[in-house]
Symmetry: C2
Subunit: 584 residues, 2 copies
C-alpha cells in the first residue's frame, strides 16, 4: 500500500481562523498523510496575543468546530498532522500552560495531540519560553504501517545555548528500542535569513543520514511585520534533495514515500550544532586585512530582493494599504526603495514619489530623481522646502534672538520633509516607506522624526555596501531601473554645502565590516582593531553606535533578512556606562 505525503506549505494571516479552516477542509478524503506547518492553526509568532482572553476564546471555539468537522468525516486512509496550540486553563479560563503541539486529524474521530515541541527557541527575536511549556518526550507516529519521528522546528537543531538535543534523544530511543523509521517529519515556522537555506539543507542532510531515513521539512509562508517566513519546504533523502517547494509562496506538493525510502550510506558521527556565533551567522571574511563583509552572490541577491518585496506586500495587505509614498533624495537608498516597490507593484496599487529639495540639494539630485520617475512612469511630486526652511529660520531668530546653524539647520530640513511627507500620506492614504539603511541606523546617521520616519523599513537590515550590491543585481536583471548617475555619485545627505558621508565616516566597505564585527560578532574595540582596522576609525564608529541607541529605540519595523538585525530581536539598554566598550 503506497504512502503519499502531501506537503501543504500554507500562507495565512495571524488568527485568520476562517481561512485556516477552509484550507484544511480541502484535504477531506484525499488518501495519504497531509502535513501542515508549525502553529498552522494560529500563525506565528503570536507574542502576547497568545495570552489575550478573546484570542483564547476564539481559538478554542475554532478548535471545537474543527474537531466536529473531523468527527463528521468518513473514515478513510488519510490523516493530517498540523501544528497548533494546546491550552491548559485555570477554572477562571486563564492559561496555566500553553503548548506548541502537533495534532493528528483522524477522520471520523477528531483531533488528537501527538507531540509537544521540546526545544523552545528563546534567543534574538524568539521568546517561546515566555509563552510555551516544553514537551519532554519523543513521539513516533504510525501511519499506513510506516513509522515517523516527529519534530517541531527548533527541535531539529542543537546548540551550546540549549541544554537539550531532541534529535540525539530520539536517535537514542530508536537504538534502544530498535525502532526503524520511514521518515523524520519536521513541522516548522522558521524565519528567513539570507544564510539560512544552506544551513537547513546541510542540517537536514546530516539528520537524514543519521536516522537513515528521509527528512521531511515543512515550513510556513508569511510576513509578520519584521519576520519573514519563506516556505521552501523539502524532502531530503540521504544526501539528495527530492522535493523543494516554492519560496515566499503558498505551495502544495505530494510525494510517494517509497520513492525516497532506501538505505543510505553509514550514518556519520553525530555533529555538534550551532554555537552562539553560529546562531548569528556573521558575515566577515577575516582572512583579508582589514576584514571585509562577504559579498552576496547573485542567488543571494535574488533571495533578498524576493524577501523584501514579499515582506513589503505582506505588511501592505495585512494593514490595508494600496498606495505607497517614497521620498526621493536623488541618492541611492531612496532610489532603491522606489525600484524595489516598483518592480513588485500590483495592478490595483499606486506608487508615488515626492522630491523635497532644500537650498543644499544639488541640481543633479533633481535631474536624477526626475529621470528615474519619468523612465519608470512613477508620478513625482516636486515640493521644495526652501521657503518653509527659511520661514522657520527667521521665526527662530525673531523669537529666540539666536540664529541656528550646523546640526540644527540640517535636522530642521529633514524634519520639515518628514512633516510634508506625512501630510501627503494623510492626504492620499498612502503608506510611507522608510529609506534608511543598516549602516545609517547603526551610527545614527539620520534625523529622528526626519528621514527616519516610515511605516516599514525595507533596507534597515542591509548595510550600505549591500544596498550597492543589490542595486547592481537589480540593474543587471531588470534593465537598469535606476539612473546610473545615482549609483555612481558619492553618498551625501545634502543637508549642508558639499556634504559627503565619507567626510565624517570611514569608507562604507570599512564601516560595514566594523559594524558587522560589533553587531553580529558582538566585538569590542580591541578585537575589531585586531581585524586590521585603525584605532581612530574604530573609536569613531563605536562612539557613534553607542550614543545613538535612543534613535533605534523609536525606529519603525525593519524587514529582517539577516540572522542578526536591528528591530525586535535587538535588545539594548539606552542608559549605561560606556567605558566597558573601550577598556577591553
Amino acid at each position: 500500500m503506497k504512502t503519499i505525503l502531501h506537503l501543504h506549505q500554507t500562507h495565512h494571516t495571524l488568527a485568520d481562523f476562517e481561512s485556516i479552516f477552509k484550507t484544511l477542509a480541502q484535504i477531506s478524503g484525499i488518501d495519504g498523510l497531509h502535513l501542515f506547518p508549525e502553529l498552522y492553526l494560529t500563525g506565528y509568532p503570536l507574542q502576547d496575543l497568545v495570552l489575550q482572553r478573546p484570542f483564547i476564546d476564539s481559538y478554542l471555539a475554532f478548535f471545537e468546530e474543527l474537531n466536529l468537522w473531523a468527527k463528521k468525516q468518513k473514515a478513510g486512509n488519510w490523516r493530517a498532522l498540523l501544528g497548533g496550540l494546546h491550552y491548559e486553563l485555570e477554572e477562571s479560563g486563564l492559561p496555566v500552560k500553553i503548548r506548541n503541539v502537533i495534532y493528528e486529524v483522524i477522520p471520523g474521530e477528531g483531533l488528537k495531540i501527538l507531540y509537544t515541541k521540546r526545544l523552545l527557541p528563546n534567543y534574538d527575536i524568539f521568546d517561546e519560553e515566555k509563552y510555551f511549556a516544553a514537551g519532554a518526550q519523543n513521539t513516533f507516529y504510525e501511519f499506513n504501517r510506516e513509522i515517523f519521528g516527529l519534530l517541531i522546528c527548533e527541535d531539529m537543531w542543537t546548540s551550546s545555548v540549549h541544554d537539550l538535543d531532541p534529535c540525539h534523544l530520539m536517535h537514542l530511543e530508536m537504538k534502544e528500542k530498535n525502532i526503524k523509521v520511514s521518515g523524520i517529519i519536521n513541522l516548522s515556522a522558521s524565519p528567513f535569513d539570507v544564510a539560512k537555506k544552506h544551513k537547513r539543507f546541510e542540517r537536514a542532510r546530516n539528520l537524514s543520514l543519521l536516522f537513515n531515513s528521509p527528512f521531511i521539512y515543512l515550513n510556513r509562508v508569511g510576513g509578520e511585520d519584521e519576520v519573514l517566513f519563506d516556505g521552501g519546504s523539502f524532502v531530503m533523502a540521504g544526501p539528495k534533495l527530492h522535493l523543494e517547494l516554492k519560496y515566499f509562496e503558498a505551495d502544495s506538493k505530494s510525494i510517494d514515500l517509497s520513492l525516497v525510502k532506501s538505505e543510505y550510506e553509514e550514518a556519520p558521527a553525530f555533529k555538534p550544532g550551532n554555537t552562539w556565533e553560529g546562531l548569528f551567522s556573521p558575515q566577515l571574511d577575516s582572512a583579508q586585512t582589514p576584514a571585509v563583509l562577504k559579498s552576496w552572490s547573485d542567488d543571494e541577491c535574488a533571495e533578498v530582493l524576493k524577501a523584501l518585496q514579499f515582506g513589503f506586500q505582506e505588511y501592505a495587505r495585512k494593514n490595508g494599504f494600496k498606495k505607497f509614498l517614497v521620498a526621493l533624495s536623488g541618492g541611492m537608498d531612496s532610489a532603491m526603495v522606489l525600484a524595489i516597490i516598483h518592480l513588485c507593484l500590483k495592478k490595483d496599487q499606486d506608487l508615488e514619489a515626492i522630491y523635497m529639495p532644500s537650498i543644499h540639494s544639488s541640481p543633479l539630485s533633481t535631474q536624477l530623481s526626475e529621470k528615474m520617475c519619468a523612465s519608470l512612469g512613477i508620478p513625482l511630486a516636486y515640493f521644495p522646502i526652501k521657503f518653509l526652511h527659511s520661514a522657520v529660520k527667521n521665526a527662530f531668530v525673531s523669537q529666540f534672538k539666536e540664529p541656528f546653524e550646523g546640526l540644527t539647520d540640517e535636522n530642521v530640513q529633514s524634519r520639515l520633509r518628514g512633516t510634508l511627507l506625512y501630510t501627503r500620506s494623510n492626504q492620499t492614504g498612502a503608506m510611507v516607506i522608510n529609506t534608511s539603511n543598516k549602516s545609517e541606523l547603526a551610527v545614527g546617521y539620520s534625523t529622528q522624526y526626519g528621514d527616519s520616519v516610515g511605516a516599514l523599513s525595507l533596507l534597515g537590515d542591509l548595510y550600505k555596501s549591500e544596498v550597492y550590491r543589490l542595486a547592481r543585481f537589480i540593474q543587471e536583471k531588470y534593465n537598469s531601473p535606476i539612473p546610473a548617475g545615482i549609483i555612481e555619485r558619492g553618498p551625501s545627505a545634502e543637508l549642508r554645502e558639499n556634504q559627503l558621508d565619507q567626510d565624517s565616516l570611514p569608507p562604507y566597505e570599512r564601516l560595514d565590516a566594523i559594524l558587522e564585527g560589533i553587531l553580529s560578532y558582538r566585538l569590542g574595540k580591541k578585537q575589531i582593531i585586531g581585524l586590521g582596522f585603525r584605532e581612530e576609525e574604530v573609536t569613531k564608529v563605536l562612539n557613534l553606535y553607542l550614543k545613538t541607541e535612543y534613535k533605534r529605540a523609536q525606529f519603525c519595523p525593519i524587514l529582517k533578512v539577516k540572522s542578526k538585525s536591528f528591530g525586535f530581536g535587538y535588545r539594548m539598554p539606552i542608559s549605561k556606562n560606556l567605558s566597558y566598550q573601550f577598556n577591553s
Copy 2:
C-alpha cells in the same frame, strides 16, 4: 557573638564597574554580614549587553581585580554576599552558560559562588531565560554560626506560570534535614510598580512565618530607561516590619540579628502565589456597574510622583542632559509634565516651556500657559504656527491641486510643532519630554511624529483619570503649581474648531476602565460588556486600540509605574486578523 547584618541598598549605572568597586571597598574590615543586591556587580537588566564580548571581557577583568582585593584583605569576622554574573565560556571566549549568582566575599581568600538563581522570570519585561541558566539547588549559608537560606529575587515568588517553587523546595529540605535557619536572605533587583510594595510585604510576612525566621529583603535602586528599581529593602520578622530602607535612594542600614530572632506563631499552610492575573495586578473595581478603575490613595500618588521624578532624573543624568524642554498646550498633560519636572529640578538644570498655538488654539490656552510659567518662573517661548501652517496648506494646494482638511489638517499642525520643538531642542541641547498619557496611547489619540515625540514619556503609564488624580494630589501638596483653569477645562487637542476629546471618545472614567480591562485583564468585547459597558462604546475603543498598534511600536521609552504597561514588556504583532476580538 553578635551578628550584625548590613543592608547596602546601592545605586549604580549599568556596567559602571569603577563605582561599584569603590562602594564595595568601603566595607573592608567592618564586622558582620554585608548584603548587596542581585547583580550588584553589573546592574540589571542588561539584556543583550550580557552577550557583548567587550562587556564580558571588562566584567571578567573587574571580577579578577575584585578577587585580588578580597585576597589582600586581612582575615576578619566580616563577609559580604553580593549578586553577580558567572560566565561559563567556550575556548573561543564566547559564553556557553551565564548564571545569575550570589558570591561570598571572604577576606583573605577571594570570591566564592554560593548560589545560582533558580526561578528566572520570563514574563512581561523579563527575559531572564533568554540569557541565564537556572540553578537547581537550595543553598544554606553559614556565618557566625548562624544559618541563612539564600534566594535571589523571583525565587521568593511562586506562580502558576512557573513550574517551580524555590521556597517550597527550601522548606522541604529544611524539614527533611532538620535545618533551622536564622534568616532567609533575598537579594533582589525588583522593579517598582504602584501595587507592589504591599505585595512584597505580604509575601515576606508569609515566608517569615513559614520559615519561622526573619526574612531579609535587599533591593537595588536605579532607573534603567523604562524600568525603575525603588529599593525599599527591609527586614520582616514574623508579622512585624523591623527595618525599612529608603525608596528610590541609595541607603545603608544595619541591624543586630538577635533583636529580630524569635519564635513566631505557628507557620500557616503554604499559600499559593501569583496567577497570570496576579502578575499584572489589574486595578478594576468590578463590584460597581460599570466597573471603575480603582483610585489611588494619597500614599500611592506620592509613590507615583516620586517614581516619575526619579525615572526622569535617572534618564537625564545617565544620558547627559541638564536642559529640558516641554511643549505646553494649555491642557492638563503638558501642564502636569511641566509641574512634575519643575518640582524636582536641580540647581544646575534648566527647564524651558514652548507654546505653539495654531489657528484653533483658544486664547484661554495662551493665558493659562503664560500664567503657569509666570507663577513658576519657567521661561516660556511663544511660537505661533499659524503662518507655517498656512504656508504648508497653500503649497499643497498649488502642488497637488487638492486642499487638505480634516485629519490631514489636524496632523500637520501637530507635526509642525514636533519639528519646531526638536529644532529648539537641537539649538539648546535640551531633552524633549513627551506629554502623552496611557489613554491616548491606547486609542492612538495622538499624531505620530507630532505630539507623540520625545526622548522619554513621563505619563505614558498613567490613564487620563490617573493624571487628574495625581494632579489633585500635587495641587494640594505643592501649593497648586497648575492654574485651576487648566484642570477644570475639558480635554481637547485643539486641532480643529471647538474640538473636545469627549466628542469622539467615551468619558475618561469609562474609557480608562475599558482600557484596563483590555490591557491588564486581557479581556475581549463580550467580557468587557459583561462589566457593565455599552456595546457601541466597547466596540469603538477596541477598534481604536487594535488599529493603532503601529503608533505604539515607534513610541519613546515610558516610565513604568504599573505591572502592565506599554513599552518593552508589551509585545503585540501589528499585522493580524482582528476578528478574534469581536467574535468572542
